[in-house]
């Protein structure tokens, strides 16, 4: 186990450097000039060249990439944003990442809770009204895009409550922003709905399969009730596919959702990445990609370890 962790962690910098180089190659090939701006008279070329020199972009892609990597290794310096002068990429990540991570974790908790609940209900009472309801709900969860669910949640949680219960301010969900725990509720539900639908389907299908397997039948024959067999034995095994889904899902949720962050005005990293790509703000793109890639790799490692923790038969070595 320890050897696995060490070898993965040793691979990490190599993978990240490759990802950075590939990303930078794509950014470099992208059309557009980040130093041009609308609404301002264009300075002469020498001034534009001076800007480029400020960002170490005046001596070609190889020199830039070399100095960028050196800056990260020696000073943990990810450079500066072109579009927001004087703002370090590390500050953008430092400000945006905890927000997106907190929201992502809350969304995953919502997804796990709702998804497991719906999946177990569906497995325990197949073809019942509960099962149908959970199936329909999961279908809606998967089908509806975030901007629709976000708008609906905002309309109900923040709009209708104010309209019909103006005095019950404790029921008024915040209209956006990121100033307290209440700000997390609606966006977490919005972001957690789609993964909860996947989890529900995975749990339901897994349980339906496992509940008819030999070891559960044996457990039942030993006198365990259906519920006991499910929660003690079946759910653990049925959860394995959920775990493998959880790795990339956690990385995706934690790295922010452009749509949800925009709808609820949350200052996360998701919005930042999209605007950086639009503006060809290369240091921001590289910095954010680096963080995203790290999170994805680390989460996949955590999932692999969780696999072994939950099911001792799995040998990772």
């Amino acid at each position: 186990m320890l050897r696995l962790i060490l070898s993965r962690l040793l691979q990490l910098p190599v993978i990240l450097v490759i990802i950075l180089i590939v990303t930078y190659a794509m950014v470099w090939l992208m059309p557009g000039d980040p130093f041009l701006q609308d609404g301002a008279k264009r300075p002469d070329q020498a001034t534009i060249d001076a800007w480029k020199a400020e960002y170490n972009m005046d001596r070609g892609p190889v020199v830039f990439m070399g100095s960028y990597l050196t800056g990260i290794v020696t000073e943990f310096n990810f450079g500066e944003s072109i579009k927001m002068r004087g703002v370090k990429v590390s500050d953008i990540i430092k400000d945006g990442m905890p927000v997106s991570a907190a929201l992502g974790l809350a969304a995953l908790a919502v997804a796990l809770f709702l998804g497991t609940l719906a999946g177990v209900v569906g497995a325990l009472r197949p073809k019942s009204a509960w099962d149908t309801a959970s199936l329909v709900t999961t279908l809606i969860g998967i089908s509806l895009p975030n901007f629709v669910t976000g708008a609906i949640l905002l309309a109900i949680g923040a709009g209708l409550t104010r309209l019909f219960m103006p005095d019950a301010s404790f029921l008024h969900a915040p209209l956006g922003g990121w100033s307290g725990p209440a700000n997390m509720i609606l966006p977490a539900i919005c972001l957690g709905l789609a993964p909860s639908a996947y989890i529900a389907r995975l749990v339901r299908l897994g349980l339906a399969d496992i509940m008819s397997s030999d070891f559960v039948r044996t457990a039942r024959a030993k006198g365990l009730s259906r519920h006991q067999a499910l929660f003690k034995h079946a759910l653990k095994v049925a959860y394995l596919p959920v775990l493998s889904f959880l790795g990339p899902a956690a990385a995706a949720a934690m790295t922010g959702s452009f749509v949800v962050e925009k709808i609820f005005n949350i200052p996360g990293i998701g919005q930042e990445f999209v605007s950086a790509v639009e503006n060809k703000d290369q240091s921001v793109i590289l910095g954010v990609v680096l963080v995203f890639a790290t999170i994805l790799i680390v989460f996949n490692l955590i999932v692999d370890l969780a696999y072994a923790w939950i099911d001792p038969r799995i040998d990772l070595t």
């Binding site: 059309p31 557009g32 000039d33 041009l36 701006q37 609308d38 609404g39 301002a40 008279k41 264009r42 300075p43 002469d44 070329q45 020498a46 001034t47 060249d49 001076a50 400020e54 500066e80 927001m84 002068r85 004087g86 703002v87 953008i92 400000d95 945006g96 905890p98 927000v99 991570a101 907190a102 929201l103 974790l105 809350a106 995953l108 908790a109 796990l112 809770f113 497991t116 923040a158 709009g159 209209l175 956006g176 922003g177 100033s179 307290g180 725990p181 997390m184 977490a188 003690k232 759910l235 959860y239 925009k262 709808i263 005005n265 200052p267 919005q271 639009e278 503006n279 060809k280 923790w309």
Partner: protein, 621 residues
């Protein structure tokens, strides 16, 4: 099951823990506020792009910088005229209109309590002129005697090769080097490309050259004298422009150093993170920066050392950065913001205005939305039909501006037939008689005269617009309307609308890769040259390469004209010529749709966006 609950519970706790680290800091309590002046909260879709006053050019930054730094002169509430800022009075020019002597207030202070002195202005303006700073608006300081020469001299001193880029004309460059015979030796490098003089030696030469060459002098701590190249009618307007803000030399110098690195680089650079750092930045305006969280919120609090703090209408300004305009409106309705600086989504604008929403206010702007035509003789090695002015006139006369304003925009914009917005510059008489109005019949005749009867023989016209960024989707809607009239009315076989993302649109514009493109320009200062200069043959903004010796000559004559009215008449003639030559088709004058409760606040809105937020009072119910 226990493990499962442990995982979910752990995640929730971790989420809440992480969230608490990242929550925006609550606003601190306002200081004693017996006059109940309170807080002005406004929403904008983006935060500042650069809070370095000498360097930036974005309106979102200017709005904040006018609160954070006080210039020599400032606009009155309502933007009509100028009034003294750090200066005690508006000076009368001397020396044939070339010299202005400003007396500075002795009570003016920086936010650290230090007095604002004339040297702070000298230092800031010199910094804006230095090519090292790469100021967006360094060109505005070229009005000052020796400004442009100093800028070019310093650029060549740091990197001699830059001179070819700065002064493209060989004769002019030779004349420049004749004036500075030692420059080439001072900028020399050895065989390895390393400079012979150290950065410190070059800086000493630079300071001496600035003092010798440039007409910005601190006569004493409270007297600043500025001498211009030629009398410039709008110079006092520039003295209220954020690029001309002072900065505290005693603080900024601590964060300024030579870039160094390889080749002994003598470039001087200020730590760019200083300007947006509430713990370090020092200001002399009505407010100081007390909090800034990216993409979230920026807070300005009353500067305790501001000399006129008793006149302030509010003690705090909060910028809420809300990217989604619909959400901003919800926040406004909920009373969380007092003012939304502008709604840009066309559909939302129309909806607000058509529903008669009482808090939606359309404010006309001194800005022109226009189409620009490529005037190069050839494109891609083939003759360019738009090089013929009759073709450009035909295209222009086919545009039904009223239809665009009514049906596409519909949020307070007005038809514009002139490049310089009409009635926005005192004393300037717009050349409406020279404007090309909507006349599709005459347009078809002109096209036939140019050798393309019924549009026959005209190759495909590439129309470049941006679908994202400024103007967004409305640009495409307008392009579709114009494409239809060009094809239907003029018989042009094919108009291809190209709609790349914003940065690509800007790059293609700069390269001149278009036959026609949408463009827009908001005036920087109240003078026609803020628009007209852009179409001079040598101007870096002249993407369409329109080149008219007559037009250039009129602008050059206007630049030398001392008599204010004669100068404006020359500029009027230049614009009349421009409208007839039709390198551009003005379409409409911009309007901003602001949201605020007029019963609660009077913003003193004006077309030039010269707001005095420090004087805005909030009358809460």
């Amino acid at each position: 099951m226990f493990r499962y609950l442990l995982v979910v519970g752990g995640m929730i706790l971790l989420a809440i823990g992480t969230a608490f680290v990242s929550f925006d800091r609550a606003l601190s309590k306002l200081p004693d506020d017996p006059q109940n002046r309170g807080t002005l909260t406004y929403a904008d879709t983006s935060g500042p792009t650069n809070l370095d006053p000498n360097k930036t050019s974005a309106s979102v930054d200017f709005r904040l910088l006018k609160c954070m730094y006080q210039t020599l002169l400032v606009y009155q509430f309502g933007g009509e005229g100028l009034e003294p800022g750090v200066a005690t009075a508006i000076p009368e020019p001397t020396n044939g209109g070339r010299t202005y002597t400003f007396n500075l207030r002795e009570e003016a202070r920086w936010s650290d309590g230090e007095p604002v002195i004339a040297q702070d202005f000298v230092y800031a303006w010199r910094r804006a002129l230095l090519p090292d700073t790469a100021s967006d608006y360094a060109g505005l300081l070229y009005k000052i005697e020796g400004g442009e020469d100093f800028h070019n001299w310093r650029a060549a001193l740091v990197n001699f090769e830059a001179l070819e880029e700065k002064i493209k004309d060989d004769d002019q460059r030779a004349a420049f080097l004749e004036r500075f015979p030692e420059l080439e030796a001072q900028a020399a490098v050895d065989a390895d490309g390393r400079a012979l003089l150290t950065p410190e030696q070059k800086w000493a030469l630079t300071e001496a050259m600035f003092d010798e060459l440039v007409g910005i002098k601190a006569l004493d701590d409270h007297t600043l004298q500025v001498t211009l190249e030629v009398p410039t009618a709008f110079f006092l307007e520039l003295c209220a422009f954020p690029t001309f803000s002072p900065i505290p030399e005693h603080v900024v110098e601590q964060y300024t150093q030579f870039v160094g690195g390889d080749k002994n680089d003598a470039t001087v650079r200020t730590d760019s993170t200083y300007w947006g750092d509430p713990d370090r930045v020092v200001m002399n305006g009505a407010y100081t920066l007390s909090f800034y969280k990216l993409k979230s919120r920026l807070v300005l609090d009353q500067n305790p050392h501001y000399w006129a703090k008793d006149t302030m209408g509010n003690l705090r300004i909060v910028l809420e950065i809300v990217e989604d305009e619909t959400l901003a409106i919800l926040l406004f309705k909920d009373g969380q913001v007092d003012w939304i600086v502008g709604i840009s989504q066309p559909e939302l604008k129309k909806k607000l205005l058509s529903s008669g929403y009482e808090h939606a206010h359309s404010v006309p702007n001194a800005g022109t939305y226009y189409y620009q035509y490529n005037c190069r003789a050839e494109m891609d090695g083939k003759p360019n039909p738009l090089a013929d002015r009759r073709v450009r006139q035909a295209l222009s006369m086919c545009i039904n501006r009223q239809e665009i304003v009514d049906n596409v925009m519909g949020s307070g914009e007005s038809v514009s037939l002139t490049f310089v917005p009409a009635d926005q510059i005192p004393g300037y008489d717009s050349p409406n008689d020279a404007a090309l109005g909507y006349d599709p019949v005459r347009a078809a005749e002109l096209l036939a005269e140019a050798g393309y009867p019924g549009g026959e023989g005209i190759p495909k016209i590439d129309l470049l617009v941006n679908a994202t960024g400024t103007g967004g989707g409305a640009n495409v809607d307008i392009a579709v309307v114009i494409k239809k009239v060009w094809e239907d009315e003029l018989g042009i076989r094919s108009v291809n609308i190209s709609q790349p993302i914003f940065q690509v649109y800007l790059e293609e514009s700069k390269k001149g890769n278009f036959m026609a493109r949408r463009a827009g320009w908001f005036g920087d200062y109240r003078d026609p040259t803020t628009w007209l200069d852009m179409l001079q043959s040598s101007d870096p903004n002249n993407d369409a390469k329109y080149s008219s010796p007559a037009y250039d000559a009129l602008l050059a004559a206007a630049a030398l004209e001392v008599d204010a009215q004669k100068r404006l008449d020359l500029l009027r003639d230049a614009e009349a010529l421009l409208l007839q030559e039709a390198p551009v088709s003005p379409i409409y004058t911009y309007a901003t749709l602001m949201i605020y409760d007029a019963q609660q606040i009077d913003l003193g809105t004006n077309a030039w966006n010269n707001l005095r937020l420090d004087l805005v009072r909030i009358e809460r119910d």
